[in-house]
């Protein structure tokens, strides 16, 4: 087993990995940028090395500086977390060249899955289901009509060189096809200098469901159940759960087996995730593979009882998986809320800044993976994920109830967070019924945008509030509270410690410290 691991990341995931290392008796090395000197992951680590200025490209993405920190500290392995260098095959190779174990797949497996076309060729050989389509550009309108007939409407026209929605057209019926093809081709030509357009079956209101896999370096690969990730805002996941409300045992097994096939075709090792699009009939299609630990891994940990980071480290150290597929049992339900520093009342603008007050939830069925603390200034240079709040219970309903309770306990002041968004989602009838797809949240937000309607989060929260007859209105309570804060602050000016120490006697802290030093 490794004696020392460098964590090439920051924020909650760096803290998560440091905790796993500590549990396993492995020393940890943190790296940090100039603005992260006081960050939680630096505080929690055994050693820490500065890597440069705030911009990620000058610090967390600097392979040379990270490898140098590894060398100086004598670390034997590097855990990349997610984001930053985690899916960079060059970095994985550089680690190997420097004699360091990269905790993740091989550079070759990463390259295979990193390129969409290469992944597709590999997967087609392995018999993995894809969204039906032509995979190659259509030569004529006639050919496109035949292809669309064969696939079945609605179909999606996509520019081969495309991206960002350019050169894409959704076609519902045959009469629309010709003009849509022409405009897609000319748009593709204008945007990418390449008019090649291919046809794919349009998956209307798909779900995004992914399957966790683990593979050791001895040829053993297992699947660990799915995660439903359809709750997204502008293609960014905000809430994930396991199991999915629509996946039954049989579908889970089929998805799991396909995922294992994908991983094996790529000679994949360590933890990975296979993403699927799922249509309304429950057919699933391979989308891509994420060759790293995912943000939402905790929901899988809870429903399987496994610690994925422990297992990642053990696999990287050359151990065999300590279980087989038939040993894996699923239990209960877990839901994760990604707590972001963003303002739900102002277009979800990012909201970095100083955290002046932090009240964190705890209690039954609650796990929190965070990278923040009260008094810390959240820098503006990185992604806005502050913490992940995970609620779990014996079933979905209980997990929701516990999360609602925990969200009511959760309070962050000084910066804005999306906590209120989760209170609204969890209280929504469609969410509770599991009627969700990747467009659910954006549609729902457009409908209930505070800027265009009188929708107020107050009325929603009030539903779940326990009735207390005879209570004052909350507004009056706020009035009294504002006054009481002021008079109590005035009555106890030394309470926060700023004016406490006088020169007349040594402070109690000092005395206490001395007394303890004598023991």
């Amino acid at each position: 087993m490794f004696k020392k691991i460098l964590i090439a990341n920051r924020g909650e995931i760096a803290v998560r990995i440091i905790r796993a290392c500590r549990e396993m008796g492995i020393a940890t090395v943190a790296v940090y940028s100039d603005v992260d000197r006081a960050a939680l992951h630096v505080r929690k680590s055994d050693e820490a090395y500065a890597t440069g200025p705030a911009a990620a490209s000058e610090s967390y993405l600097r392979m040379d500086k990270i490898l140098d920190a590894a060398k100086r500290s004598g670390a034997e392995a590097i855990h990349p977390g997610y984001g930053f260098l985690s899916e960079n095959a060059k970095f994985a190779q550089a680690c190997a060249d420097a004699g360091l174990k990269f905790i993740g797949p091989t550079p070759h497996a990463m390259e295979t899955m990193g390129s969409k076309t290469r992944a597709r060729q590999q997967m087609e050989k392995a018999g993995v289901p894809f969204v039906p389509g032509t995979s190659r550009g259509v030569a004529s309108a006639e050919e496109s009509e035949q292809a669309a007939e064969r696939i079945g409407y609605p179909v999606m026209l996509k520019a081969a060189a495309g991206g960002g929605g350019k050169g894409m057209r959704l076609v519902h019926t045959r009469p629309e096809l010709r003009s849509a093809l022409e405009s897609a081709q000319s748009e593709a030509q204008r945007s990418f200098g390449d008019s090649e357009v291919y046809i794919e079956k349009a998956i209307v209101n798909p779900r995004h469901i992914e399957m966790q896999v683990l593979a050791d370096e001895h040829g053993n690969t297992v699947w660990l159940g799915e995660r439903e990730c359809s709750i997204q805002r502008r293609h960014q996941k905000v809430l994930e759960e396991s199991p999915s409300p629509i996946v039954d045992d049989e579908m889970r097994r089929r998805m799991g087996e396909v995922a294992v096939k994908v991983a094996q075709a790529a000679h994949y090792t360590n933890a990975g995730t296979i993403e699927f699009l799922v249509d309304q009939q429950g057919n699933f299609y391979f989308l891509e593979m994420n060759t790293r630990l995912q943000v939402e891994h905790p929901v899988t940990e809870i429903t399987t009882g496994l610690d994925l980071v422990h297992l990642q480290i053990r696999i990287a150290a050359g151990e065999k998986l300590p279980f087989t597929q038939s040993d894996i049992k699923f239990r209960g339900h877990a839901i994760e809320c990604r707590i972001y520093a963003e303002d739900p009342d102002n277009n979800y603008f990012p909201s970095p800044g100083k955290i002046t007050l932090l009240l964190e939830p705890s209690g039954p069925g609650i796990r929190q993976d965070g990278g923040i603390y009260e008094g810390w200034t959240v820098p503006m240079d990185y992604d806005p994920l502050l913490a992940k709040l995970i609620g779990y219970g014996s079933d979905r309903r209980q997990a929701i109830m516990r999360l609602e309770r925990a969200l009511a306990e959760y309070f962050v002041a000084g910066i804005k967070t999306n906590i209120s968004l989760f209170q609204r989602i969890l209280g929504d009838a469609d969410f509770q019924a599991g009627k969700i797809d990747t467009g659910y949240l954006d549609r729902w937000l457009a409908k209930t945008d505070p800027a265009i309607s009188t929708f107020s989060s107050k009325s929603d929260v009030a539903k779940t509030k326990i009735e207390t007859p005879g209570a004052q209105s909350l507004e009056k309570i706020a009035v009294i509270a504002a006054g009481m804060f002021t008079v109590l602050d005035a009555a106890a000016p030394a309470k926060d410690g700023t004016a406490a120490a006088t020169s007349q006697a040594p402070s109690h802290w000092k005395q206490k410290g001395r007394a303890e030093a004598l023991r």
Binding site: K476, A478, V479
Partner: protein, 165 residues
């Protein structure tokens, strides 16, 4: 102690008087039985006629927020004896409107030029923070009088980016 407390535009008269260990509270002339302690800075445990509330206080650059559970109230506390009367700026649909940076970040680019006509909701400046580019939009239809945002420059919340009249 007598305060004028304004919540959501409504003014209340709050009288708080020390009486032994506790406080006597009159809200809009009515006697209210209360007990309050501050268990940690910015948190108040308030008992009102036997009902318990956990209250949180958040001070921002411009406002005082009082959170009762998950409900947030923007509160203005005035001491009527003092002469200081705070003037609330802006909100006027007809005058010039300042467009302020809503968060710390970096100006990426300008979307309009000075003197150009803009619609309400039209993007004026793009500010990047936390890996996201955010269009800061015009609050009204009008003419861009001045753009003070400089591409590449860092901005703090409340900095004036542009003025639309």
């Amino acid at each position: 102690m007598v305060y004028e407390v304004i919540v959501d535009g409504k003014s209340h008269r709050l009288e708080l008087e020390k009486a032994g260990d506790g406080w006597v509270c009159r809200l809009d002339g009515q006697l209210v039985a209360i007990d309050a302690v501050i268990p940690r800075p910015d948190v108040l445990s308030l008992l009102v006629g036997g009902h318990a509330y956990e209250i949180k206080r958040e001070k921002t650059a411009s406002d005082l927020h009082i959170w009762v559970g998950s409900d947030c109230f923007t509160v203005e506390l005035r001491d009527p004896r003092s002469l200081r009367s705070r003037q609330k700026s802006g909100g006027d649909e007809t005058g010039p409107r300042k467009i302020l940076a809503p968060m710390p970040g970096r100006v990426v680019r300008l979307l309009v030029r000075e003197k150009s006509e803009v619609e309400a909701g039209q993007g004026i400046v793009v500010v990047e923070a936390m890996k996201m580019q955010n269009e800061i939009k015009s609050p009204k239809k009008g003419v861009v009088q001045k753009i003070s945002a400089i591409p590449g420059a860092a901005v703090n919340p409340g900095d004036v980016l542009a003025i639309v009249e």
